[in-house]
Amino acid sequence: MSTPAIQIIDLHKYFGDLEVLKGIDFQIDRGEVVCIVGPSGSGKSTLLRCVNLLEEPTSGQVLIDGINITDPSTDIDQMRTRIGMVFQQFNLFPHLTVLRNLTIAQIKVLKRSKEEAETVAMDMLERVGVADKAHEYPIRCSGGQQQRVAIARSLCMGPEMMLFDEPTSALDPELVGEVLDVMRSLARDGMTMMVVTHEMGFAKDVADRVVFMDDGVIVEEGPPSEVLVNPRTDRARRFLRMVAEK
């Protein structure tokens, strides 16, 4: 069997005295799409943010393609170019045009020429369907467009895997679909994806595996047809009932 894309070993994370991750063991294979669901405060965003070390784990290991990124001697900046990340609040750079948002890291980190970076950027904007906004500032784009630009910005670095931190939670309901469509097409193209989401429909359709977290531990995991339809645990059942009632 090949090395997993993401492997997490006995991960603990404290914020002060509060233990938000209580020993997580879990892995994602190449090309796999995994959705993390669970009530807010369950630690799912923190877990995601530990995968590219935006959050420093208190103990435990995170291995990306077999490389231990929690080892201080690992070049984390280089590793992060291989792990795309999409945020709830988009976090586009407001002082740069959409095109510059997509080229700046390519030029500064991957040392691509401006022309090369712009070619890649336009390809990616085309792919997410916002090429016409290339020369606008992010503020002139709708939330859905901004999030698609953010996805394109990550894709420009040529990542092997993508992390999504509640990518549709800040969007107006009518704009959710266009972002989910882009994510769906990424999944179809074989991208390894770890998605923290409240979109149960998306999880059911797209995920190869669903992980249900609560109170800092993984309570249940398996194919969506099991975890989301016939959960084994009470906690998962209660959560799904609450989500369904919304």
């Binding site: 900046d77 992060r80 945020f87 976090n91 750079f93 002082h95 500064k108």
Partner: protein, 265 residues
Amino acid sequence: MATRKRRVGPWSLGTVVAWLITIFVVAMLAIVADWERIGHHFFNLEVAEAMLPQLLTVAARNTVIYTIASFCIGFVLALMLALMRLSSFGPARAFALAYIELFRGLPALVTLILLAFGIPIAFSLRIPGGSMGAAVTGLSIVAGAYMAETIRGGIEAVPRGQMEAARSLGMSHGRTMFSIILPQAFRIMIPPLTNEFVLLIKDTSLFYVVGSTPATRELVKFARDFMSDRRNATPLTVIAIVYLLITLPLTYLVRRLEARVGRGR
């Protein structure tokens, strides 16, 4: 309503009384004041004219040069201090904090005298540029302390997600600071930094205590020399006008910029 009835149109009783008192005081001053003396000593055109070429070519020019020099050096200092203040390295944070508190806590004049006289006496060490070099260095040190806090505030006002997004793209902390955070922070900082510039213009007047040659005088020293020569106070009026001609437009500009930043957010 009861309170309405006591008013006579827009004029309340209090307003009328205040106006009467003001008119009375102004009238008394106008009668009592020695207008001839005031005119001769504060608004003497002959004295003002005698100041003219040098007022602009030497004094005002020097004031502007000293201000810009102190601002630029102070700004570089301030940027380093602000980054140290936000650094994760404890000793750097402690040093920056001590520096900022020290030079904001002391009167600027003490720092100026320290550099112009204290250090040369103690170490027989002369700061390049003579006494004005020392004064500019001193004012830069003080300006750096004040501006460091302005810059830190600007950096902290940029949302945390900006740093996270850039870092997740593989940009280093320093690269993110210079390409992503600082350009946004400077937009926020432009009004307070312009304000700092206005304060510095006025603070260069402190240079008059450190001793200067006729060619290196700034506005206040220039005016003082003229006052001694002519036994006349008009130079004060003249430099007051020059100061206001520089500071008022800048103050107005700050207000405009603040309104724009306020709208933009």
